[in-house]
Symmetry: C2
Amino acid sequence: MKATVFAPGSIGNVGPGFDVLGLAVDGIGDRVTVELSSGPEVPVRVRGTDAAMIPTDPSKNAAAIAANAMLRRYGRSRSAVVIIDKGLPVSGGMGGSAASSVAGAYAAALASGDPATKEEIMTAALEGEMFVSGRHLDNIAPITLGGLVLSRSIDPIDAIPLPVPPAWSVALITPNVRIETKQARAILPEQWDRASWIQQMANTAALIAAFMSADGALARRALDDHYAEPRRAPRIPHFAEVKRAALDAGAFGCSISGSGPTIFAIVDGDTAERCLAAMRRAMGDVECQARVAAIARRGAHPV
Amino acid sequence: MKATVFAPGSIGNVGPGFDVLGLAVDGIGDRVTVELSSGPEVPVRVRGTDAAMIPTDPSKNAAAIAANAMLRRYGRSRSAVVIIDKGLPVSGGMGGSAASSVAGAYAAALASGDPATKEEIMTAALEGEMFVSGRHLDNIAPITLGGLVLSRSIDPIDAIPLPVPPAWSVALITPNVRIETKQARAILPEQWDRASWIQQMANTAALIAAFMSADGALARRALDDHYAEPRRAPRIPHFAEVKRAALDAGAFGCSISGSGPTIFAIVDGDTAERCLAAMRRAMGDVECQARVAAIARRGAHPV
């Protein structure tokens, strides 16, 4: 009747893989508890990072929307009492809304005792994610499945887990600004010329080959986003300097996580701390959070 | 002073991988002999398939253009005397112009005794290919390197050979019509909307994952081209029926090779002949050539 699920943070839009490629990261995430209730709907309780910014109205809260979507799926008439422990920042580019959505959907399934497949969890989570940031799977899929995931299709869901080289991890730096995903999307062109999308497609395909063959030099050539990065970078303090610093320190690639402001670098374990230190220096006196994180091999799970 | 090179046929635009993904096929190709001459330029001699359709003026012949580009690269003042044995049809969608170009460039390097890298061969071959069908690497790269190749970049050339499952091969059927690449390109839109290119990108990325993990079911979902295929299919007799027949017979995917009219199917060795027979039946009474071919593991090579 009550269950708690932890869902990890994630990097969305990995490099050129706009809307389709995401990577789950260890050590930070959202925790959602769902209890079934036959009473009237009650406000969501939110604690932790940026708690004051999260709507408590269940009809506007990603975790509650996803939890109730999961309950409806099983024809449950009861509603979800939801408690969220936020570990991920709001509008930080770490997939916070998606993590809350996945954790809410998964916890609702556990609380109701219904066996939910990963696809069902992702389907319900999409409803929460849609409300906050739009209908895309690139955070939801790695949060649910762990690791690096290519979201090939939403209708029906086709999320493809890909191997990740054991030695690779990520360096993350989040300057103290907020970027709202829907706004960050509005500045991107609806139409794109053939040469540009072909280059983007080739880079995404090559990036997947790089992960699958543990080829850091190829990742470095392929992790090159011409669509979102150049248009979103101006909103992120010192983005160009941070990227340059990461690459000069040996990162396999560096770009914007989700719609930002978090900047991620793919790094080898040996160079991770050096890359992170260089990135932090390049931020100058901008207040920021910085961490090296392992790639989360395991997706959302009960705790 | 004289050398002969065989270059295999190839499937360009493999499924969604427009302009970037190509696959070399065994058992059919062009053979080009280059001899260095200090005399005046002489016409190209052409024998074999569609020989009468190939220009003999060296300034308009892909193999000769590529051969002379290779010689200029080494500062050679002598010109190339070129003989072509065509095995690939003209405007057939099997990379004929690219094969002649690669063989011409490679043979010129051998004839002049200069060590040419694969990149140098591809660079010179591009000049021949550009003259005939446009500036794209998706045939040239697999013809030169063998197997399945992702062409990530032309300037500079970044061609990424990918593993191919040992059991996979191709079924090819070429109806007796011709489609000129440049014309087939002119009907494609210059601009494309975001949702469409993102889907195309996801499919190409997934197709590469399918090859790298030998996942035929994934290939079947991913080999789905929304850009060129729907616009070019009307020029190919019975395309929809042939594709349906291939998939019903168990192919992992079926689409147009290059700009057509050749139709290819990716098949498991066990089902190859059954797929081919079904495809041929679906062609009805249209005159066609049909064959099962192994994927050429080896690219162009001296003979």
